[in-house]
Symmetry: C2
Subunit: 242 residues, 2 copies
DNA sequence: TTACTTATAGTATTTTTTACTTTAAGTTTT
DNA sequence: AAAACTTAAAGTAAAAAATACTATAAGTAA
């Protein structure tokens, strides 16, 4: 079946073919965490429109790719990493949102361990840089709106699913985990109670290893157990951080 | 700026214009509630592809509409109602998901008070009918996948936001509310405790009115107070039904 | 050895959840 | 009109969870 057969008509008898003129893009909000700050990786655009503006990394989607493929590609070109944690969160479709044509974009937020990679420059980005999510520059297109929604989504998700671990190194202390959550959610936890709560969830595996190069009693290291979470979830467990 | 100027190129030097060949559609999962059952409104397709199959109501998006407009239009043509509660939940982009061309669809779930409307037939639907969400027919396209995700989203959302009220008449008893949640979540609540919990949230306004035409002590009627919820939410309140 | 810092265990209080009981208020039947 | 029945709605006691705080342990640095 070919489009130009005009086989399939919409309700108002417009040829099917005429509906096929949308551009699709993906925009990625890559979050990282370092020195107690939650950060997002932005690029400086190397081409018009919005040349020299800071923007979300993203790209137009080609006909052979799913949105997930396209977003993975963007993240790979940006960081050199594959299998980054990534989740779709919203479609943005304001008619005038893109100055060059009718482009609908799908937002993905993604989480990385900041130290694991060096941001790479590319044809569409003259520079890439981490920004504290509370100190953001002016952004191209409707990217501020997209980023704001991504931050809101992250804050909600991080309370209801154990995805915060994606931002930490594989081995971490309980205090590091607490500080991460405090940075993400914007409020403090009581240390002994935070410990108790997290450990009672049985999601953390204690390792036979402690911090090194610290000038005080070194804390025990833990790792997150994704399989354990999967099992518990099937049994009805629901991750929830107050 | 016109597309054929080829002003804006992707990373691989493909003319910008060639990216603009996607079809966009919206598909709506309209949920209702009647006689203790959660239901979804499906249509029988009146045209190929998948003629005579049951399917989600949806339509291709035209260039002058946002996705929200398009979804509202679908719901209006289906029910005759405007301002139906509706929320975007996912974009579906498998390359082969539509047999006629590359169509990416955005899923919206919507909630109505079942008794408020009569489903209407239209050019793209020879019939529309409510189905119990546990007794669904075979569906066209990838609509089963879309519907499954919508049901999962509804079950999660209904616990964390007071949207269940959209499925009930404006005036309802606490037992009616309890039965709705039991149908949605698939487990039972203790009656006195359910009452206590809901009333302690201060989201329900007691009315000077009771049930009529019941063969037992009539229960007091309540209404949901959306403004109160808005205020409480800003103060940090978080709706949560275990 | 002492001072200092942070880890980690423990405890006591308050609040919330859970399970269950009792009483009230209406309708229907006899 | 009384009795039986059904559901509403309030109350209560036990268990569990969250909260606030204290004490001790284990390391580093002076």
């Amino acid at each position: 079946m070919r489009l130009d057969e005009k086989f399939y008509l919409s309700e108002n008898n417009v040829p099917f073919k005429e509906f096929f003129n949308f551009g699709m893009s993906v925009d990625c909000i890559l979050f990282g965490y370092k020195n107690g700050e939650v950060r997002v990786l932005l690029i400086e655009r190397g081409a018009d429109p919005f040349k020299h503006f800071w923007a979300l990394p993203g790209d137009l989607v080609t006909a052979d790719l799913t949105l997930e493929d396209a977003a993975s590609n963007v993240l790979y070109r940006l960081t050199g990493l594959e299998n980054i944690f990534m989740e779709q969160f919203h479609a943005f479709s304001e008619v005038q949102r893109h100055p060059v044509g009718r482009v609908i974009t799908i937002g993905y937020y993604a989480l990385v361990r900041s130290e694991n990679h060096k941001p790479v420059a590319s044809a569409w980005a003259t520079e890439s840089k981490w920004f504290n999510i509370n100190k953001l520059p002016e952004l191209a297109f409707d990217h501020k709106e997209i980023l704001d929604l991504a931050i809101g989504t992250l804050k909600r998700k991080v309370r209801n699913e154990p995805i915060g671990f994606e931002l930490l190194p594989p081995k971490f202390t309980l205090l590091e985990l607490q500080k991460l959550y405090e940075a993400l959610l914007g409020y403090k936890f009581d240390k002994p109670n935070f410990r108790k709560k997290l450990l009672s969830m049985n999601l953390l595996v204690p390792l036979d290893e402690v911090q090194s190069n610290v000038s005080h009693r070194p804390a025990k290291l833990f790792k997150f157990d994704p399989d354990r979470y999967k099992t518990l979830k099937e049994e009805g467990f629901h991750f929830d951080l107050q």
